[in-house]
């Protein structure tokens, strides 16, 4: 295919964002229409990429390569494999739904939508990167939209703290990753940023073991690995709805993906040595995150901590370094992205209408906004790994993978599932059922656009849960490729 579909996918949001910044200040509808349209177009393109990806052939496809800085062998080099194509799709759908549910942003809408679009370009760019420099470039590109969007449109109480904490945590992680990246390129003698070449560079074992933690844990900060997870709940909670969706849904996956692509795929020997530590930390993530979520009284914090818990499962899958675990992680990244986006969109809708996120002050909202309640319930079921939903088909292989390397991890981590069920059911009951409080009598139902975006997310999760074959062959092909690099297992 000659049409540079990935470039279009990546840069449509960017161009839309720049265009939005040029609009006159008094046109309040132009930015949102442009943003939603651009996001819809991006979503469409990601679907096309997903559908047209040739699983039988495998490997990297839709490759485009333009020299960027030939001296250092940096190029603009994009392409997707079986792992990144679903993530691209996930980013597309979350970007679209995030824009759609933000329709009512009225404070400086130009900046809001422009930054949201920049964030979109950043995440899409990371997923499609086949060049280490470019990956890092797009990775860091997200810093300022994230910070500003949380600070400007975030929840007034915690936004300054949350935004600064998030930004600095992630920046710390990424600069350590940067040192690792530079070491991979310059110290190893590879002298190229081309991931395809680096994958086959075969660094010596001691080198890999030394530098693996830099890149892996550096990027994994964004995936909220314990003990550097605490930015995530604070950041998610402080952020406005669309940003929470992008952050928890997509950005955390960006971290995990980068940790996989740069850490595990380039330095497999390092991964082998450090895997036990990752397993241990990720297991703490799963159980600890869930336990903390259980005791939260802030609706959004519950979901914030649940993300920490679920990303732990992704990390466990990575650290197993085997087929089942990686397959599960691939699915879990997609599933959790969609699920948590849905969670946060519902939380946002509730907050917008009830003006509180304090669980004891909510209740009976099912009567007022049934569609949102149903969507939340579905997301909750996905979250607790209920069969029939995407969470189950993702978590099941992760546990199978864990059995093969460390049974104790599977046994402990499964507790997380039970605790998750506990807090999800509690939250559903307290927020959506029970008696409707008189203060909430004025609450209105969600808009059609909200329903459409929630509907898309719900359908994706159920479809994937009932027909896993919609996705697993693709991820499997990606996993096989990774296993070839990692070497068996």
């Amino acid at each position: 295919m000659n049409f540079p579909i990935l470039s279009f996918t990546i840069f449509i949001p960017l161009l839309a964002g720049l265009l939005i910044l040029c609009y006159p200040r008094d046109r309040v509808t132009w930015p949102r229409v442009t943003a939603v349209a651009a996001a819809a177009l991006t979503f469409l393109l990601t679907i096309l990429v997903y559908v047209n990806y040739d699983i039988a052939q495998g490997g990297y496809q839709f490759i485009e390569k333009v020299p960027w800085m030939p001296i250092w062998d940096i190029s603009y080099h994009v392409g997707v494999d079986g792992i990144s194509a679903p993530l691209l799709l996930m980013a597309g759908v979350v970007l679209f739904c995030g824009s759609a549910v933000s329709w009512n942003v009225s404070d400086r809408p130009r900046e809001f939508y422009a930054f949201l679009m920049f964030l979109g370009t950043s995440v899409l760019g990371v997923f499609a990167s086949l060049d280490l420099f470019q990956l890092f470039f797009f990775f860091e590109l997200a810093i300022f939209p994230k910070y500003l969007m949380i600070v400007i449109w975030g929840s007034p109480k915690t936004r300054e703290y949350g935004a600064m904490k998030l930004t600095l945590y992630l920046f710390i992680g990424s600069v350590f990753a940067l040192i690792g990246v530079l070491a991979i390129v310059f110290l190893s003698g590879a002298n190229t940023f081309d991931l395809l070449l680096l994958e086959k560079a075969g660094f010596d074992t001691a080198f890999q073991q030394l530098w693996f933690p830099f890149v892996f844990f550096g990027f994994a900060v964004l995936a909220a690995i314990f003990p550097v997870h605490s930015w995530a709940p604070d950041g998610h909670v402080a952020a406005p709805t669309a940003v929470s969706m992008m952050l928890a849904g997509v950005e955390m996956k960006v971290g995990a993906f980068a940790a996989l692509r740069v850490g595990i795929m380039l330095l497999p020997e390092g991964a082998r040595v450090w895997a036990p530590l990752i397993l241990a930390l990720a297991t703490i993530n799963v159980v600890y995150g869930a336990l903390i979520a259980l005791v939260q009284t802030d609706f959004k914090y519950v979901i914030g901590f649940s993300s920490v818990s679920h990303m732990g499962l992704v990390m466990i899958g990575f650290a197993t370094l085997n087929r089942d675990g990686l397959l599960g992680s691939g699915l879990q990244m997609f599933s959790h992205g969609v699920m948590t986006a849905l969670f946060f969109s519902v939380v946002g809708m509730v907050y917008d209408r009830a003006h509180t996120r304090d669980i004891p002050q909510l209740g009976g909202l099912f009567q007022k906004m049934p569609a949102a309640a149903v969507a939340f319930i579905v997301a909750g079921l996905v979250s607790m790994g209920m069969p029939g939903f995407s969470g189950f088909i993702a978590e099941f292989p992760i546990f199978m993978g864990a059995w093969q390397v460390a049974p104790i991890v599977a046994i402990i981590a499964v507790l997380g599932v039970l605790i998750t069920a506990g807090y999800i059911f509690l939250v559903i009951r307290r927020v959506f059922f029970g008696d409707l409080r008189p203060e909430l009598a004025h609450v209105s139902d969600v808009s059609l656009l909200d329903k459409i975006s929630m509907g898309i997310l719900v359908v994706l999760m159920i479809a994937l849960g009932v027909f896993p074959s919609l996705m697993y062959p693709m991820i499997q092909s990606g996993v096989n490729y990774i296993l070839a690099l990692v070497g068996g297992a």
Binding site: M386, P387, F396, M400, Q404, P407
Partner: protein, 502 residues
Amino acid sequence: MDFLMGHLLSWILFLPTIAALVLLLLPDRPGLLRWYTLVASLLPFVLTLVAWANFQTGQPGFQLEEQATWYSAINASYHVGVDGISLPMVLLTTLLMPLAILASFSVKERIKTYMFLFLLLETGMLGVFLALDLMLFFVFWEIGLVPMYFLIAQWGSANRNYASLKFVLYTMGGSLGLLLAIQLIGVVSGTFDLPLLFERWPGLDSGTLLGLPVGTVKSIAFWAFVIAFAIKVPVWPFHTWLPDAHTEAPTAGSMILAGVLLKLGAYGFLRLVLPLYPVESHNFAGWLAALGAAAIIFGAWSAYGQTDFKRLVAYSSINHMGFVVLGIAAAAWVLGTQDAAIALNGAVLQMFNHGLSAAGMFFLVGVIYERTHTRDLTRYGGLFSLIPIYGGVLIFTAMGSLGLPGLGGFVSEFLVVRGAWPVFTLATALSMIGLFFTGAYILKALKMVLHGPLNEQWRGHLPEMNARELLVIAPLVVLMLVIGLWPAWLLDMINRAVVMFF
């Protein structure tokens, strides 16, 4: 027609789901929704009868099998089929479901959601009985929880929040071990297909798995299975969720809970634990028998101590399911012998019978509750004179539950006791004493509701059972009688399956 017959089990399994989705599109008119759901739930029943007719009793193995790719990355497939053990359970489910829906005609609020959840619940339960793939089994095992949770939490009585959460967390907690064990089996044997596993898994007895001796690993997995199913049955002392859940659930929910959901646990023992872990089952059968006897005795005592009618019936379930457990335990100890076959026959038949009688009892409790808005036994009294038809039906059903000769319960309990006596004499003897207490609590309940001095409060306020309610209870009463008098039509199928399978 070929398409229908070729995928008969899939149709039975998914018709309720399809009906549930269609239901969502219907306009919000109570009458329409109720009748639609009733008709929709009758279809699987009819198809089950067709399947029954097409079932070759003499043939070994599973029949009407279907297999399709589902999740080949981890070697799980969509594989369904029935044998003589599961088909009666399917029949029980598809039979009770229309009755439960008919019983729910009195539900007034959010009918659409209610019916939707019921139909989903049916698919979940049927899936467990039909699945021939371990992962698929687990899928349906878990999926049924969700509608049940919401049914209890939304349409239950006063203490529903506590009860529903307890129910779902207990059962999910139990199934965590099951989940892990299933994954373990999948990792070790590379397949989830039950027929294949029956061949491969029990034979694994040497070497190490995951760094542990095979025996240890299998013991761990065995206990994971046992605990999951024991909670569901529920076996004493894992039973504490049951009285709460049953008591707080809406009437139809209790019918299904007691009638079908409890059978899932027992079915799990029969379908998975005995064939997959014959050795471990044998080793631990004594414990299981003791627990079964304990369930019978303590269940009866607890039931006797209740003053809440519904709670009393709930504890009676523990008491009756104890016989199923006892039968299974006896069979596990002497698997392959005639005693085992008799005990298993009794256990499976007891599952079926208890399904009928418990559903009936819960329904009747619901009927009286709807009229009096109380479940307190001390506030009834002498009602027989006011509502003689109800009284008659209640006595009949209670007798069926008690195990009166001539009714279904007697046959199955006799078979269990007959099979278990040579194996676990002491436990069986204790169970017989427990049976005495069963009589005690049932008679106590009958006395307090129907006899004694009339509570004048109810005079003139207590209408007789209406036609719809009679229609619900009639099939149950008839079946109890039929099985009691001529159990052969059912036992024949069960017996052949049991003999061939074990």
